[in-house]
Amino acid sequence: MRYKSQKVAYWFFALSMLLLTLQIVYGFVMGFDRIGWQGLHDYIPFNTARAVHTNLLVMWLLSGFMGAAYYIIPEESEHELVNVKLAYIQLIAFALVGVAAIVGYHFNYWEGRKFLEIPRPLDWLVVVDVLTFLGLILATIYAGKKKTTTSLVLAMGLLFAALLYLPGMIWFDNQTMDSFFRWWVVHLWVEGVWELIMGGILAFLLIKITGVDREVIEKWLYVIVGLTFISGILGTGHHYYYIGVGKIWLIVGGIFSALEPLAFLGMALFAVAMYRKGEKKHPNKIALSWTLGTAIVSFVGAGLLGMAHTLPQVNMYTHGTLVTAMHGHLAFWGAYAMIVLAIISYAMPNLTGRKLYDSNRGVLAFWLSNIGMLGMTVAFGVAGVAQVYLERKVGLEFGVVQQEIEVHFVILLICATMFATGICLYLYEFIKYGTPNDEALQLN
């Protein structure tokens, strides 16, 4: 830590960890529902658990991204955050809106639009909150001595993420139009601007950890985010195959979304190449594991598993089945959850001054959570492929198929337990680090 105001990041990370814990709890509720243990049905029916699970994911990732920005931007711009008090207010407001939304979902206060369930009145509060955050970040970059590519890419990602939230707030009578614009938010976030955020954080971590020259890393950052947008923007077409718009999207979406793995492949090759080129002197090996891990697992989860069902001929059968859940879990874990865990692992020793990064617990947390998530992905995949064949090919009734594939959810729950154990160890480490303090300021 070089600037006092970077301490704000810690509290965003702490909120992030709290929401992650809750997300896992609601994941288990759904897992148990699927094997017939529906004891909570009257209080937390599946649709509530599902909305909470996905919204908490978005919220803890955003909280992590914001924390990352508050940590990275002062250091990159060589300037204290312009207004620390406002950053804390923004944090509290973000937490309150989030909690209100999550509580509301338990009382039928929502808009049943996948991933965008937050009701429109609360959406406006989200907008105000995010604008405050952006204002602070952009003002700090503007006031700072340096405007680095890393900080500009990160800020650009955050700015576009905020702008793209708006199309999701418009009401449409027509379900097709509704869906069309909903993907402008959801797809262009996760397969577009969030990759800019991820790329920015990744570049920062690689510069710090590998010691490779900034110019080299930032050049490749441009290439990667370029590939992301070139494939990802028109790749939105893979959501438009079967929702009531024209067949042109089958061609455009098919071709461009098949190119989407290139950006993730680029990211993986880039991270590994920079690691090999670097000096390998940085003592924080845990942060290094998460950094290389996010680059590689995102290629597998988002790149390859996305590719597996993105061609229209395949997607005709897999669209709206558990195959999507298979891809979704490893993609979000690899690309976004792991990058947040990476920046937290990197930042914690610097924020608190406690160098706890060589513990076995941290290593165990990394492997247990990754292997657990991989196991969950396989369980979803097997269930999904079986569902596709039995329901879409053979034509068995939905419920019959669900009973057939129930056993895979037992496996899913076992793997999820392993995953959760890993996360618990990560949380234990997080708590052990304690809170940030000014003694950790290094003026190097």
Binding site: G112, Y222, V225, G226, F229, L234, V252, G320
Partner: protein, 148 residues
């Protein structure tokens, strides 16, 4: 070897070009394709009220529609064709959790009028041209033949 400024041009240029193509295609979809494929002229007040109910109760939190939603309960785009209005109405108006094969649905206990609004919405969506989705099960014929 590629320089940093060339890399930046690649990023900015590529983004601008693909984004413009995307906007053009989207404009074409909304102005030409949606009116033909979704029959917006049939969006009666009842259908719209149905859509509002659909969203207010987060039906997508378990079901899929147009293949979008959760994968806990059946795809409903063609449900009127598949199940008929009577069955759907019974499910929607049930005061006890409907539980086919033990999997519980929330007991919404909708009024007759609300149930009809949702059915009108589902009928409208069932008439949308979805480029062939959901697919017809292609092995069904052969399995039926072998069991005879």
């Amino acid at each position: 070897m590629l320089s940093k400024s060339q890399a930046r041009t690649f990023f900015l240029g590529g983004t601008a070009v693909t984004f413009l193509i995307f906007l053009g295609l989207s404009w074409n979809s909304l102005s030409n394709e949606v009116p033909k494929q979704t029959h917006p002229e049939n969006l009666t007040p009842q259908v719209i009220a149905g859509k509002q109910l659909w969203e207010a109760n987060n039906c997508m939190g378990c079901h899929t529609i147009l293949g979008e939603g959760a994968y806990y309960a059946p795809e409903l785009t063609k449900v009127v064709e598949r199940r008929g209005e009577g069955y759907i109405k019974a499910v929607l108006m049930s005061k006890e959790p409907w539980q086919p094969r033990g999997r519980k649905m929330v007991a919404y206990g909708f009024s007759d009028e609300q149930a009809m609004q949702l059915i009108e919405f589902l009928k409208w969506i069932g008439n949308t041209d979805l480029n062939g989705f959901p697919p017809k099960p292609d092995y069904q014929q052969s399995t039926q033949n072998t069991t005879k």
